[in-house]
C-alpha cells in the first residue's frame, strides 16, 4: 500500500516539482511573485493529496501514517519544493494547534494552511528573550472577553508575508516567569501590527521585528489555557526541533556533498588526497544525519516518539552545516574568497548563512542542555529561576543597576 503511495508521490513530483527552487523565500527577490508561486504550489500539493500527510482528514490532512510521510520525504529529497513559506506554519503553529488547540481553531486554521491560503509565523523571540524565551515581556492584558497585546518581537521569520502568528505574551507578571505566559493567535493584518524587515549577514531579509501597539485579540484567539502558554510553547519548540532536525537538505543543496564534489572536480581538485578525504567525510557525516532522521521517524511510526531526541537531530544538522562550510573552504580554496562564477558565489553565501542554523530554533548550546538534561537525565543548569515572580527578575541586557522588569513592553 505504501509502495503505491510512493510511486504516486514519485510520479507527481516528477511532473510538478522543480529540481531546484525557482526563487528564494527571503522576501526580497520578487517576493510577490515568489509568494504567489509558493501559494499556488502548496495548493497543487494539497489537491494532489500530499499536504498534511499525517494530519487527520477532518482538518484537511490525508489521515495517513508516518510510513507515507517517510516515503514522501525520501522521494521529495531530490527536489526543492517551492513551498518554504509554509514550513514554519505547518510544522510549528500547525502541529501545536493540532495538539493543544480548540476544535474550532483546528477547523478554522489547519485546512487553510494546507491549501496554501494562509501563511503563519512564530512570534516567540524578543530583544530581551531568546534562549531564555520565558523571560519575554510582550504583554496581553484582559479586555472584555479578549485581550490587548503590546510589545515587540524580533527575528520573526516570514512575518513580512504572514497572515497569522502564534505569539507568546505575558498574561501575569506577578507569577514566576514560566507560569504567567499565554499563547495566542494574532492576525498579522490587524490594526496595531507593524512589521519591519531585518537584514541578516548575507544581506537578505528573511526575518523581521514586529511591534504590537494595542492589538486586539479575540476570545477565541487563546491557544490552550490562559497562563499555560509555556506548556504550549514547549510543544511548539519540540515540533520545531524535530522539523528542523529531520528536514533533510535537498540533494541539490549547493553546500551538500554532491555539489561540492562536482565543483571540486571542475576546479581539478579531486586528485588531491586531502580533498578526496574531506569530501568522503562530508558524505559520511551527511548520511549519518540523514539516517538518524530516518530512524527517528521509524521509531515514531512504531510508537516511540522522539521527544527530546529532536534536539539531537537539530544539533546534528547545524553541526553538519558547520562541517560542510569547512569542507567547502578546504576544497574550493581561494575561489570562495572571490569569484565571478555563480555557483561559487552561492556556496560562499551559504557559508555566510551557515551559523544561522546553530542559532535559529534554539541555539546549539541550548540543544546540548536539552540533550544533557532530558535525554541523558543530567542535573539542570544551576541558577535557572523557576520561582521568583517575573516582575522581580532581570532579563536580556537590562543593567543590574536599573529596576527589574515591570513586565511592560519597552
Amino acid at each position: 500500500m505504501t509502495e503505491d503511495f510512493r510511486a504516486r508521490a514519485r510520479a507527481w513530483l516528477e511532473a510538478n516539482a522543480p529540481r531546484r527552487a525557482a526563487g528564494d523565500d527571503d522576501g526580497e527577490s520578487g517576493a510577490a511573485t515568489t509568494l504567489a508561486e509558493q501559494k499556488a504550489f502548496q495548493a497543487k500539493l494539497y489537491d494532489a493529496g500530499f499536504a498534511g500527510i499525517t494530519w487527520p482528514t477532518e482538518y484537511g490532512g490525508q489521515g495517513l501514517t508516518n510510513a507515507e510521510q517517510i516515503d514522501w520525504s525520501r522521494e521529495a529529497r531530490d527536489y526543492d519544493l517551492p513551498n518554504g513559506a509554509f514550513f514554519i506554519g505547518l510544522s510549528m503553529p500547525g502541529n501545536t494547534i493540532l495538539e493543544v488547540g480548540s476544535e474550532a481553531q483546528k477547523k478554522r486554521y489547519l485546512p487553510a494552511m494546507l491549501r496554501g491560503e494562509e501563511i503563519w509565523c512564530q512570534l516567540f523571540s524578543e530583544p530581551g528573550a531568546g534562549s531564555d524565551v520565558a523571560s519575554l515581556q510582550t504583554s496581553a492584558v484582559r479586555d472584555g472577553d479578549g485581550w490587548v497585546l503590546n510589545g515587540q518581537k524580533v527575528w520573526t521569520s516570514g512575518a513580512q508575508y504572514s497572515d497569522f502568528g502564534a505569539v507568546l505574551a505575558r498574561t501575569d507578571p506577578a507569577k514566576p516567569k514560566h507560569e504567567g505566559i499565554s499563547m495566542f493567535i494574532v492576525d498579522m493584518h490587524a490594526p496595531g501590527v507593524t512589521v519591519r524587515p531585518l537584514k541578516v549577514a548575507t544581506g537578505h531579509s528573511p526575518f523581521n521585528e514586529v511591534f504590537f501597539d494595542n492589538v486586539r485579540i479575540p476570545a477565541d484567539g487563546l491557544i490552550g489555557e490562559e497562563n499555560k502558554g509555556w506548556a504550549a510553547a514547549v510543544v511548539m519548540l519540540r515540533h520545531e526541533r524535530i522539523a528542523i532536525g529531520t528536514m533533510s537538505a535537498p540533494r541539490t543543496s549547493p553546500l551538500g556533498y554532491e555539489s561540492l564534489r562536482s565543483l571540486a572536480a571542475g576546479l581539478g581538485r579531486t586528485d588531491d588526497q586531502a580533498v578526496r578525504r574531506r569530501l568522503a567525510e562530508l558524505y559520511a557525516r551527511s548520511r549519518g544525519v540523514q539516517l538518524f532522521g530516518l530512524l527517528l521517524r521509524e521509531e515514531a511510526m512504531a510508537g516511540r516518539l522522539p521527544g527530546a531526541r529532536g534536539s539531537v537531530a537539530k544539533l546534528a544538522g547545524s553541526d553538519l552545516g558547520r562541517f560542510a562550510a569547512n569542507v567547502a573552504l578546504d576544497v574550493l580554496g581561494d575561489q570562495l574568497a572571490g569569484s565571478d562564477a555563480e555557483e561559487l558565489q552561492t556556496v560562499a553565501t551559504l557559508i555566510v548563512a551557515a551559523p544561522g542554523s546553530a542559532i535559529a530554533g534554539g541555539t546549539s548550546e541550548i540543544q546540548r542542555n536539552i540533550i544533557g538534561e532530558r535525554v541523558l537525565g543530567l542535573a539542570k543548569d544551576p541558577g535557572v529561576d523557576r520561582s521568583t515572580p517575573f516582575n522581580q527578575l532581570r532579563v536580556g541586557t537590562q543593567r543590574s543597576d536599573v529596576p527589574a522588569s515591570s513586565g511592560e513592553p519597552r
Partner: protein, 362 residues
C-alpha cells in the same frame, strides 16, 4: 528496508546482553589480562553452542543459521558493549565471510560448518601493514613466505586464510596451523580484548583457494567495517552510560558535575555522535542483507563515523571521570584501549576515507 530492530533482533539483543552481564562482565576481561589467555574458552563455547552466534551470518547449507548480517551486527553491538574477548570477529565474521565469497566449494564444505559451530577456529591474515606473503612454491605444490602482522587470533586459529602475491595477482591460500615453516608469535595487544599475532611463513605449504580473491578481500574489508562499527557502537553506548551515570552522582562545588555545561555539553555531543553512528550501523547491517550493492559504502560510512566518535568518547570518558578514570582499577582504560585499537585495525580513518572516496567515485 527499516532501520529499527525487528522483534527477533530485539530478542537476540536482549539475550546477548543478558549473557554478557552474567557470563562475561568486565571482571572476566581483567581475569584474562592476568591469566594471559586470549579469551575464555567456556564463554566462547556458550556463545557458539548455546547462543549460536558464530553461525548467525553463515547460510544453513554450511551449517549456520542464515540469520544474516543484521542479526550478526545486533549481537556484535552487545558483545562490543561488554568488551567480550572472543574469536568471533576473526573466525565467524572475517574468515567465514571471505570463504563465502570464494568459489571453493570443497573448502566451504570442509571449514564453514566447524566455524559455525565454534569448533574450528579460522582467521584471515589480512593486515594493513607493509609486510605481505608471497608465493614461493610452484603451481603443483604451492608454498608461502613472508610476514603478516597484526593478525586477529593468529596464534589460536586452526586454519589461516592468507592472501599472497602469486606472481599474477593476489590469491587466497589456506594454511593449516600445523604446517611446517609457520611461526606464530602473540603480540602485545594494546586492547586486552583482542588477541593479535605475527604470522611468519617460511616456504609454508598452502592450498590455493578457487575464486576471485580481490572480490573476497574487498567483501572482508566491508565486513570488518560493519563488525568494528557495530562493536564500537555498543562500546560507545557503554561509555556514554557509564559517564553520564557518574556525572549524576559525583558532586563538586555543591553540584552534580553533570550540571556543569563543560561536562553536560560533552556528553550531549557524545550522545549526538552515537545516535548518528548507530543509525549508520543499522543502515549498513540492513544493506548487507537487503541491498548488497549499497553495502560497501554503507559499511564505510558507519566505520568512518564510529572510528572517530568512539575514540573521542573514550577520551572524554577518562577525562570526565577525573583521577579515578585514569586508574587501572577503573574500567575507562579498557574502553580507551579498545577505542584506539578499533580506530586503526583494518584501516586507519585516513585509509577508510580513501576507500570510501574510491567507492563513491570521487
Amino acid at each position: 528496508m527499516t532501520l529499527i530492530l525487528t522483534d527477533e533482533e530485539q530478542a537476540l539483543a536482549d539475550s546477548v546482553r543478558r549473557f554478557v552481564a552474567e557470563r562475561s562482565p568486565l571482571t572476566s576481561l581483567r581475569q584474562l589480562i592476568s591469566s594471559g589467555e586470549p579469551f575464555d574458552a567456556g564463554v566462547w563455547k556458550q556463545m557458539t553452542a548455546q547462543l549460536g552466534l558464530a553461525g548467525l551470518a553463515i547460510p544453513e547449507e554450511y551449517g549456520g543459521a542464515g540469520a544474516g548480517l543484521s542479526a550478526l551486527s545486533v549481537a556484535l553491538v552487545e558483545l562490543g558493549a561488554g568488551l567480550v574477548a572472543s574469536p568471533l570477529l576473526g573466525s565467524a565474521v572475517l574468515a567465514a565471510g571471505t570463504l563465502l565469497r570464494l568459489d571453493d566449494e570443497d573448502a566451504k564444505r570442509e571449514l564453514l560448518p566447524g566455524i559455525a559451530a565454534g569448533e574450528l577456529m579460522a582467521t584471515l591474515a589480512l593486515a594493513g601493514g607493509r609486510s605481505k606473503a608471497v608465493l614461493v612454491g610452484d603451481g603443483s605444490e604451492p608454498a608461502l613466505s613472508g610476514t603478516v602482522s597484526p593478525v586477529l587470533n593468529g596464534t589460536e586459529a586452526d586454519v589461516l586464510l592468507v592472501p599472497a602475491d602469486s606472481g599474477s595477482g593476489t590469491v587466497l591460500y589456506l594454511v593449516r596451523a600445523e604446517a611446517p615453516g609457520l611461526t606464530r608469535t602473540r603480540l602485545a595487544a594494546a586492547d586486552h580484548s583482542r588477541s593479535l599475532a605475527r604470522i611468519r611463513l617460511n616456504a609454508t605449504p598452502a592450498r590455493a583457494l578457487a575464486g576471485d580473491a580481490a572480490a573476497a578481500l574487498s567483501a572482508a574489508a566491508d565486513l570488518a567495517n560493519l563488525a568494528l562499527a557495530s562493536e564500537s557502537a555498543g562500546a560507545m553506548r557503554a561509555c556514554l552510560d557509564m559517564t553520564s551515570g557518574y556525572a549524576k552522582i559525583r558532586v563538586a562545588f555543591g553540584q552534580p558535575i553533570g550540571a556543569f555545561q563543560a561536562v553536560k555539553h560533552r556528553l550531549a555531543d557524545m550522545q549526538k555522535n552515537w545516535e548518528l553512528g548507530y543509525a549508520a550501523v543499522r543502515d549498513a547491517a540492513r544493506a548487507g542483507d537487503e541491498e548488497p550493492g549499497r553495502f560497501s559504502v554503507a559499511a564505510s560510512v558507519a566505520r568512518v563515523l564510529l572510528a572517530e566518535a568512539y575514540f573521542d568518547a573514550v577520551v572524554d570518558t577518562v577525562q570526565l571521570h577525573g583521577g579515578i578514570g585514569f586508574t587501572w582499577e577503573h574500567d575507562a582504560h579498557l574502553y580507551y584501549k579498545n577505542g584506539l585499537s578499533n580506530k586503526v585495525l583494518f584501516g586507519t580513518p585516513g585509509e577508510q576515507l580513501d576507500r570510501l572516496a574510491d567507492s563513491l567515485g570521487i
